[in-house]
């Protein structure tokens, strides 16, 4: 959740820290699951190179339109550009990695 020092073993570019936002609507079991999945994936693939911001729309409904959130949970990769969005509880790690451009799309 906090920026860490640059780590050597990163499969992605030297662009710096990844900025990830996870939009949820209340800490529902699904939201908690999504957050757990996200942390797991980040620790594994972006260790020390990421920052996760959790936005609870029930508390800040105004923030939903900025990132055009319709579904929850939605993970938004703000940085590096381009913006990527992944909806769902992030249970399928492979698809999350594809969605985050951490793995090339399967042919």
């Amino acid at each position: 959740m906090t920026p860490a020092a640059p780590a050597p073993a990163s499969p992605t570019p030297k662009s710096g820290v990844w900025s990830l936002k996870l939009y949820i609507a209340g800490y529902t079991p699904r939201a908690v699951r999504a957050l757990d999945n996200l942390k797991e994936i980040c620790e594994e693939h972006l260790h020390g190179l990421y920052r996760i911001e959790v936005i609870d729309l029930l508390r800040n409904p105004k923030l939903a339109s900025g990132d055009q959130i319709v579904a929850v949970p939605t993970l938004v990769r703000k940085l590096p550009v381009p913006v990527r969005k992944i909806i769902g509880d992030l249970a399928d790690h492979e698809r999350v990695l594809v969605g985050l451009d951490l793995r090339s799309r399967p042919r």
Binding site: Y23, A25, R30, A34, L57, L58, P61, K62, A64, S65, Q68, I69, V70, A71, V72, P73, T74, P82, V83, R84, K85, I86, I87, G88, D89, L90, A91, D92, R95, V96, V98, G99
Partner: protein
């Protein structure tokens, strides 16, 4: 047994509930012209209404008008969620209709949100729901305390979100949620193919009210139509109604007469024919009134209208002449034959002709054309000649609806309007073909009267609201110096016109002269008699005088004779020496 008694009860119970619900169904006026008339009050309050139709049929406009009119005219703030156009685009599109969306947003009477889902940047993993959408909508509703919501076009979610099962479940939840919030909602949906009203079967979720918009070409004429497919718990018009989009938004044609509250003028406007003005209370038409001129072919309707136009333009007014059968040049040439030079008014820019075949557009197209020309030209007087040619492009009811629109519109702008109506020969003269006479303030009837192997024109004022108009017929003559009205002769149930009238006039003149002669003869005769009687009196008097004289002289003679006799007797006595006794005895 038990089951049966249960089922006996059940229908009764639902019936009670049903009627309670019917009573409880309140409506939410849309303010969209004509729609509230068809639905007898508006959309079901607190419930969702589905508006479906093909591309370009006006779905978005209808949704936007519902929200804007609610916020602006009904004090009901609204939330508009757009899925296809950005807020700025939407605002710009409706700005031409006089809808100032940014202002309403600033005043917190309206909330606008654009939901954009870019499929390309979206990946789906695992379970999710559309709570984000709910949160956004909820926050908009809370922000402006919205009573109305529009979702345009919700169906685009189907193409952006991959999991249809989740989407359908969420839509069902959304409609329930909207109902719970008590907001009146319009949901638009793309026209579906086959039996589906919408492409993704949204009608499955919206069961209260479904409105279908349609834009199609009939007889090569593009027409917009609207139909209320379904309205649970309410009666509603079930026809397809012609619809148009003008500079004030959407408007559905069957309108009785929207709010009869136009300003009225106390000014009068001359008809251009002084004797007709005399018939109309001596002052002519009311300014801003609508005038129907009906008559058979060739009875002089156009001439009457042209005469009015000429008079108005000569006094500096502006006139717009809609002709559905003749070209401007033809009208001008024909009118020059009765001494009306309309060309000079065209050249001075005070008169504009608009000659189009009635079949060029649909009724709504004509309405739009009339509106836009009137807005542009700003006339004082509008002529439509003849409105009966519209009967080929619409039913009687549609035409009546259209003209009640036109009349309302013109009255609101204080424009005097002349509508010429052709009555078929042999028809009841008082029956105007398109049934719009009740909308008119003044009705002039031109009739052809056949007598003595002539056809002559007769004009009378069938009605004229708000003035003591003449009840007399006038012969209507088209002369080289314009229109002339003459008295007609009525007697023994016939009307004398033309030569018969002239003969009657001559007869009358002769009779009048005869009467004068007779009177003077009588005077003379009396004078004569007077003189002769006087002469008789005089001669009799003379005679009387003679008689009196004679009488006097005769009396004198007698006296003399008596005296003489006495004298004689005394003489004789003296002579005979008679005694005095005898004389005493005598």
């Amino acid at each position: 047994m038990l089951q049966q008694s249960g089922s006996d009860k059940a229908p009764g119970a639902t019936q009670v509930r049903g009627s309670e619900r019917l009573k409880g169904l309140t409506k939410c006026a849309t303010g969209i012209r004509g729609l509230d008339e068809i639905t007898l009050g508006g959309l079901p309050r607190g419930r969702p209404t589905l508006v479906c139709g093909g591309a370009g049929c006006g779905k978005t406009l209808m949704a936007m008008e519902f929200i804007v009119r609610g916020a602006r005219d009904f004090g009901e703030p609204g939330a508009f969620m757009a899925f296809e156009e950005t807020g700025a685009e939407l605002s710009k599109n409706v700005a031409s209709l006089g809808f100032d969306v940014p202002k309403l947003v600033r005043q917190k009477k309206m909330a606008l949100d654009y939901v954009q889902i870019n499929r390309g940047e979206l990946e789906e993993t695992g379970e999710y729901d559309l709570e984000g959408l709910f949160v956004r909508l909820g926050s908009m509703i809370d922000e402006v305390k919205a009573k109305r919501v529009a979702l345009d076009t919700l169906e685009s979610l189907f193409s952006s979100l991959p999991n249809e099962a989740i989407l359908r479940a969420e839509l069902r939840r959304l409609f329930r949620w909207l109902k719970d919030k008590g907001v009146t909602t319009i949901i638009t949906g793309e026209q579906g193919s086959g039996e589906l009203l919408t492409r993704h079967g949204l009608e499955e979720y919206v069961s209260d009210c479904v409105i279908r918009l349609d834009h199609r070409v009939v007889n090569q004429i593009a027409t917009r139509r609207l139909r209320v497919v379904k309205y649970r718990g309410s009666v509603h018009g079930t026809n397809e109604y012609p619809t148009m989009i003008d500079e004030q938004g959407l408007s559905i044609l069957p309108i009785s007469a929207m709010g009869l509250n136009y300003p009225v003028s106390t000014e009068r406007i001359s008809s251009g024919i002084s004797r007709l003005d005399t018939m109309l209370d001596g002052k002519g038409f009311w300014k801003g009134s609508s005038i129907l001129v009906s008559g058979t072919a060739g009875s002089g309707k156009s001439s009457l209208a042209a005469s009015f136009v000429d008079s108005v333009c000569s006094k500096g007014g502006r006139a717009l002449y809609f002709s559905f059968e003749e070209s401007p040049d033809q009208i001008m040439r024909n009118m020059s034959s009765i001494g009306l030079d309309l060309g000079r008014h065209v050249r001075s820019g005070r008169l504009q002709f608009n000659s189009v075949r009635s079949s060029l557009y649909g009724l709504e197209g004509h309405l739009v054309a009339i509106h836009s020309l009137v807005e542009k030209f700003k006339p004082d007087v509008v002529v439509m000649d003849p409105i009966t040619s519209m009967s080929s492009i619409g039913t009687r009811e549609e035409i009546k609806a259209m003209f009640s629109r036109v009349i309302d519109y013109l009255k609101n702008r204080q424009i005097t309007a002349v509508f010429n109506s052709l009555t078929a020969a042999g028809d009841a003269q008082e029956e105007s073909e398109v049934g719009i006479s009740s909308l008119m303030d003044t009705w002039l009837l031109l009739r052809m009267v056949e007598s003595a192997s002539e056809r002559n024109r007769v004009l009378y004022v069938l009605k004229s609201r708000g003035m003591a108009h003449s009840n007399q017929m006038r012969e209507y003559r088209l002369t080289n110096d314009g229109i002339q009205l003459s008295d007609v002769y009525t007697g023994a149930g016939t009307v004398y016109t033309g030569s018969a009238r002239m003969a009657q006039e001559a007869r009358d003149r002769a009779e009048a002269e005869g009467a004068v002669q007779k009177a003077s003869r009588q005077t003379r005769e009396l004078e004569h008699e007077h003189a002769s009687v006087r002469a008789q009196v005089e001669s009799l008097q003379a005679k009387l005088a003679g008689i009196e004289q004679d009488l006097a002289s005769s009396r004198n003679a007698e006296k003399a004779r008596v005296q003489a006799e006495h004298g004689d007797r005394a003489e004789m006595a003296r002579h005979r020496m008679a005694d005095k006794q005898r004389k005493g005895a005598e």
